[in-house]
């Protein structure tokens, strides 16, 4: 592999952004806003969270400054790339009614320009792969998702820091980015190792001023990734948890966790693989037109399981159980793997700090490694 | 306070030998007891609670309260906060004045039942009004998330600063709408308003450098010039049996607060462009014609546009949108220029910053006595021999001209005339 890595000095990151912008890409990158590292429009490296680290624990996320010159010495923030492909709210179509009662439907499929996301982590690439499987199945592809997905250029960054809530090593999805990106960067003290996976990625790297990496640099980059993996204390068993969960549908822990769970849906919103959404519309007051849209929904809402006169999951215990058995269990039936990529967001961003690894362990009991 | 003011109005009128023997404006607004429910609440809640006294001018309540509590905690706000409070106030003036002019006043002067009827004949004017009103609301949303009971204001400043982009977008629309605000002044100046010169004392804030909104001393046309914390030494509130509103007097006499009083006392603080427009419109201010209130409102809308544009053009992100402070016990005063006139607050907080006692004197209750006095005068000059319906319409018009929070109710002023 080593032959395909290029070393570039730190200033080449700006050059990369410039190249992307010159090719018409809107660049999106991490930056500090409202006390967290979030993705937003990026024109300049100075916007990146240089010298910032973050500390995460169940229900808690705090930024702090470090002395490092590095741009990416932090683990993931509250959002992944999900909102850039699966929009939190988007119009699907419009319908107009003329005075003869005729209906005219207009497709509102977006026509986005190319977008480059910089700083994508391994867990998020894994999640994107899962969402691709979901939204772009053989027959009925989701045109809204597809339109954006096709325009994505992904610059991944290998994780050198794991948060306390990260457990991607145990799901096998990180911390090293191994697929699904155009370019991957490993950050070093004075620059980056870059590797291009797609033709577009390779071509771009060639425009930058690079040199062959030294053996030490390669080793250091590798060591840092392994260190990030070793640092992870949380884990899910890497085997298929489906049977263990479905064998325990009456476990008392469901009721117990329901006492703490707010059923607020934060876990599903921050989860990079959750795909549930609801459709609704906004009719003009006079009835002349109506805009049909969809927006993120969650298996923690009442509407998620409502059929006339019955809410199939009316209690929080049932809703939490639906979430966990789906995410870690029946997801295997649907997509051949677990729906969890170990990013730990649902642990950090649960307002009351419920920990998926802890709940899964409690419910699967000693079966966990069986 | 407003909570004790707004609501259904009724007027009891006894006419004896061609003279008004008794004139009582009755207010039935159910008491909501805000001053009491504030007691024991933390200072952070105060801003959110007092907003709910009035849905039409919540910002005024928030501003008076914020200034009062700032003063207790010894907070000195930075120039950014000071300017943004002003900007937000502009939004409320625009929204409230535009609502008054188009929904309440204009239909009166044009002889329509209501704005809906008027929109059929004057669609452009009504649409212009709605647009100006909506821009006022947009400004409120920019700083407060929503226009009614906005959530952005806190003691010491704002919870957060709007983005430069958001300000830019709005600025563009304000610039586009400025000519409409100008047309509005000319339009109202051309209203066929009764010539009703009266003697009254105007009371308003006065600031050395600017048209008053958040800060200043309380001055009157009769020469008063006091700090806001001296208010209660000069102004008294009394409770009369016929009303849930309290009546305010200055030296025992009724007085006027609101746009006309403000403009009369602060003409010189307006930028020359605004003064020029007033001159061109042909109305001479200071004016003693109460009906010129509606023009004063239009002028203030125009001024608020000019001022907002000035502020937004210079907008930058602040180092901090809210000052640091720690709660302290103490007594503090806030007095700001609500759309309807000075809104005076006094708070006593304990060392945690919880409210011990609150006193809130809204403009409408300050104008109560003045309205009754005006009704006396106006009705005498109108002539008491008119039929009940005509009398009622005249009374409504007079009352509505003050834009009291009972304005809604005065559309169905129950007039009880006793002509013994």
């Amino acid at each position: 592999m080593s032959h395909s890595f290029y070393y570039m000095a730190r200033d080449q990151l700006q050059a990369l952004i410039n190249e992307l912008r010159a090719r018409g890409y809107q660049c999106i990158g991490p930056q500090v806003r409202d006390g967290a590292i979030v993705y937003d429009s990026l024109a300049d490296c100075t916007q990146l969270p240089r010298g910032i680290s973050e500390h995460q624990s169940p229900g808690r996320y705090v930024l702090s400054e470090n002395n490092s010159q590095r741009y990416f010495s932090w683990a993931n923030g509250p959002q992944a790339i999900k909102p850039y492909v699966f929009a939190p709210r988007e119009s699907l179509w419009r319908c107009e009614k003329d005075n003869t009662g005729q209906l005219r439907f207009t497709d509102l499929k977006p026509a986005p320009g190319p977008v480059a996301i910089i700083g994508v982590r391994a867990c998020d690439l894994a999640a994107l792969y899962i969402q691709d499987k979901h939204f772009l199945q053989e027959e009925k592809k989701d045109p809204y998702y597809l339109a954006r997905r096709q325009k994505l250029f992904l610059v991944a960054v290998n994780c050198t820091h794991a948060a306390d809530t990260c457990f991607c090593a145990s799901t096998g999805d990180g911390p090293r980015a191994s697929y699904g990106y155009d370019i991957v960067l490993s950050e070093l003290d004075d620059g980056f190792l870059a590797h291009g996976l797609s033709d577009k990625g390779l071509e771009l790297i060639k425009q930058l001023s690079t040199s062959p990496p030294t053996e030490t640099q390669l080793q250091q980059a590798d060591e840092e990734i392994q260190h990030a993996a070793r640092r992870q204390t949380r884990r899910l068993p890497s085997r298929n948890l489906k049977q263990a969960l479905f064998n325990n549908l009456e476990h008392p822990r469901w009721e117990e966790v329901a006492k703490r769970c707010l059923a607020c849906g934060n876990c599903t919103s921050v989860c990079p693989t959750c795909f549930c959404h609801a459709e609704d519309e906004e009719p003009a007051l006079d009835g002349s037109g109506s805009e049909y849209f969809r927006q993120w929904d969650s298996c923690f809402t009442q509407g998620h399981s409502y059929i006339h006169g019955i809410t199939i999951r009316s209690t929080t215990a049932q809703r939490y159980r639906q979430w966990l058995t789906h995410k870690l269990g029946s997801w295997h039936d649907q997509y051949g793997r677990s729906g969890c990529v170990g990013c730990g967001r649902c642990i950090t961003w649960c307002p009351v700090g419920i920990d998926i690894t802890e709940e899964a362990a409690a419910i699967c009991g000693e079966n966990i490694d069986a | 306070m407003l909570a004790r003011v707004e609501g259904e109005g009724a007027l009891e009128l006894s006419i004896k030998d061609g003279k008004i023997e008794k004139l009582h404006l009755r207010i039935f607004e159910p008491p909501r007891l805000f001053e009491k429910l504030l007691e024991g609440r933390p200072y952070t809640d105060v801003i959110d609670i007092v907003a709910r006294i009035c849905g039409i001018c919540p910002v005024a309540y928030q501003m008076s309260a914020a200034h009062a509590i700032d003063s207790i905690f010894g907070v000195n706000v930075n120039p950014w906060v000071r300017t943004m409070r002003r900007l937000m106030y502009c939004g409320e003036w625009i929204e409230s004045h535009a609502l008054h002019i188009h929904l309440l006043a204009a239909p009166d002067y044009f002889g329509f039942e209501n704005v809906v009827a008027m929109a059929k004949q004057y669609p452009d004017e009504v649409r212009r009004g709605l647009l100006l009103q909506s821009l006022g609301n947009r400004l409120l949303r920019l700083l407060g998330g929503r226009s009614v009971h906005p959530v952005g204001v806190c003691v010491g400043g704002f919870y957060s600063a709007p983005s430069v982009d958001a300000v830019k977008t709005l600025l563009k629309e304000f610039k586009q709408a400025l000519p409409m605000a100008e047309q509005l002044v000319r339009w109202t100046a051309a209203f066929n308003l009764p010539d009703d010169q009266q003697l009254f004392t105007s009371v308003a804030l006065c600031h050395p450098h600017e048209y008053p909104m958040n800060e200043g001393r309380i001055v009157s046309s009769s020469g008063l010039d006091i700090a806001i914390n001296e208010y209660q030494n000069y102004f008294t509130e009394t409770h009369v049996p016929h009303s849930t509103a309290l009546y305010s007097h200055f030296n025992g006499q009724p007085y006027l607060v609101g746009p006309l009083a403000r403009l009369n006392l602060n003409l010189g603080k307006l930028p020359s462009g605004v003064r020029q427009l007033i001159t061109e419109s042909g109305i001479a201010f200071p004016s003693n014609n109460m009906f010129h209130s509606v023009i004063a409102r239009a002028v203030e809308i125009y001024y608020a546009f000019v001022e907002s544009i000035r502020i937004m053009e210079q907008y930058t992100l602040p180092a901090a949108s809210c000052m640091d402070f720690s709660p302290k016990a103490g007594v503090g005063y806030g007095c700001t220029e609500a759309p309807r006139g000075i809104l005076w607050h006094r708070y006593e907080l304990d060392e945690k910053g919880d409210v011990v006692k609150a006193t809130i004197i809204p403009p409408t209750s300050q104008n109560q006595a003045r309205i009754e006095q005006d009704l006396q005068t106006s009705l005498m000059s109108f002539g008491l021999d008119h039929g009940d319906d005509e009398l009622r319409l005249r009374c409504e018009t007079v009352i509505r001209n003050y834009d009291p929070c009972i304005s809604c109710a005065t559309h169905f002023l129950k007039l009880r005339v006793d002509r013994s």
């Binding site: 699907l92 179509w93 319908c95 009614k97 009662g101 005729q102 209906l103 005219r104 439907f105 497709d107 499929k109 979901h134 939204f135 199945q137 009925k140 592809k141 989701d142 045109p143 809204y144 479905f246 549908l249 795909f275 549930c276 959404h277 609801a278 459709e279 609704d280 519309e281 009719p283 009835g287 109506s290 969809r294 929904d297 298996c299 509407g303 998620h304 399981s305 409502y306 059929i307 006339h308 006169g309 199939i312 999951r313 209690t315 215990a317 049932q318 159980r321 639906q322 058995t325 789906h326 269990g329 029946s330 997801w331 295997h332 039936d333 649907q334 | -």
Partner: protein
């Protein structure tokens, strides 16, 4: 590639009031090409869009080979269905579909068939009955068992009478509560089962209705020695997109809209009857 989210306009050609709360909308796509190319199987459903109000999944009840008809029988229950009920001939709605997997009709050929429906569930199986009746010779004994809450909910009496006249066809009807002249069984539909005639080794059970009823029937059939793989049922879950994206209809690892609504009991045996799924 057409956008599977975008409805096509369809016109109501006929509106039939079947009972106080049930009505049938006979539809025709206004674009003749779309109408001509529209193919479906019994048991599949469409998403019907009521302008300005919303979309709901509704089974197609007409015969797949009858090009002139695209029928939906709808029960008035809530927001959208109440609005649909108010439409008249000539009104337009949006339609997209067909979605889902229908009944295993090819598989059922040469088999005895028991069709069980209960409650409001009759609509999705009516089409399958029609289908078999038109091709009567391809099937063995046919038993139709219908349970309703109240005798007044029973519709299509004529059709049932018609079916009964077909050779080797049994029609059994029960109402939980009935009026005095109700000619059939009063009591739960399960009370009829012992009258059923079929060969347990070459029977296909198809059912649709409240899950409680279906559970009882499954239990009964299994006890009779019918194999799990011979029992088919139509499931109902909340649906927004109809194409397996929105996630509302998940049933364990299945999407009811895409993998169902008709399932072989064997496929869902693990979760069937578990509360909360």
């Amino acid at each position: 590639m057409p956008n599977p989210y975008l409805p096509y306009e369809a016109k109501i050609i006929e509106r039939i009031q079947e009972s106080p709360t049930l009505f049938t909308l006979r539809l025709r796509f206004t674009d003749p090409v779309i109408h001509k190319d529209f193919r479906f199987e019994p048991g599949q459903f469409n998403m019907l869009y009521l302008y300005g109000v919303g979309e709901v999944p509704i089974s197609i009840v007409s015969d797949p080979q009858d090009e002139h008809m695209l029928d939906h029988t709808i029960r008035t229950v809530g927001r959208v269905t109440r609005g649909l009920a108010a439409l008249k001939e000539g009104d337009r709605i949006g339609v997209r579909g067909p979605f889902g997997r229908g009944w295993p009709l090819a598989h059922a050929e040469q088999h005895d068939v028991v069709v069980v429906t209960g409650g409001l569930g009759c609509a999705p199986v009516v089409s399958v009955i029609h289908y078999m009746m038109r091709r009567r010779e391809r099937f063995g004994l046919i038993n139709i068992v219908q349970g309703v809450k109240h005798s007044s909910d029973f519709i299509w009496k004529e059709r049932y009478d018609q079916w009964r006249k077909a050779p080797d066809t049994e029609v059994l009807v029960a109402a939980d509560a009935g009026e005095s002249l109700w000619p059939w069984h009063v009591g739960p539909v399960t009370g009829l089962f012992d009258d059923l005639k079929f060969d347990k080794d070459r029977v296909i059970i198809m059912m649709c209705g409240p899950e409680g009823m279906m559970r009882v029937v499954v239990k009964y059939m299994l006890a009779q020695g019918v194999d799990e793989s011979a029992i088919w049922l139509s499931m109902e879950r909340d649906m927004h997109c109809g194409i397996g994206h929105c996630g509302h209809c998940q049933y364990g690892g299945k999407f009811v809209c895409r993998d169902g609504p008709v399932f072989c009991y064997k496929e869902i045996v693990d979760l069937f009857g578990v509360k909360g799924f």
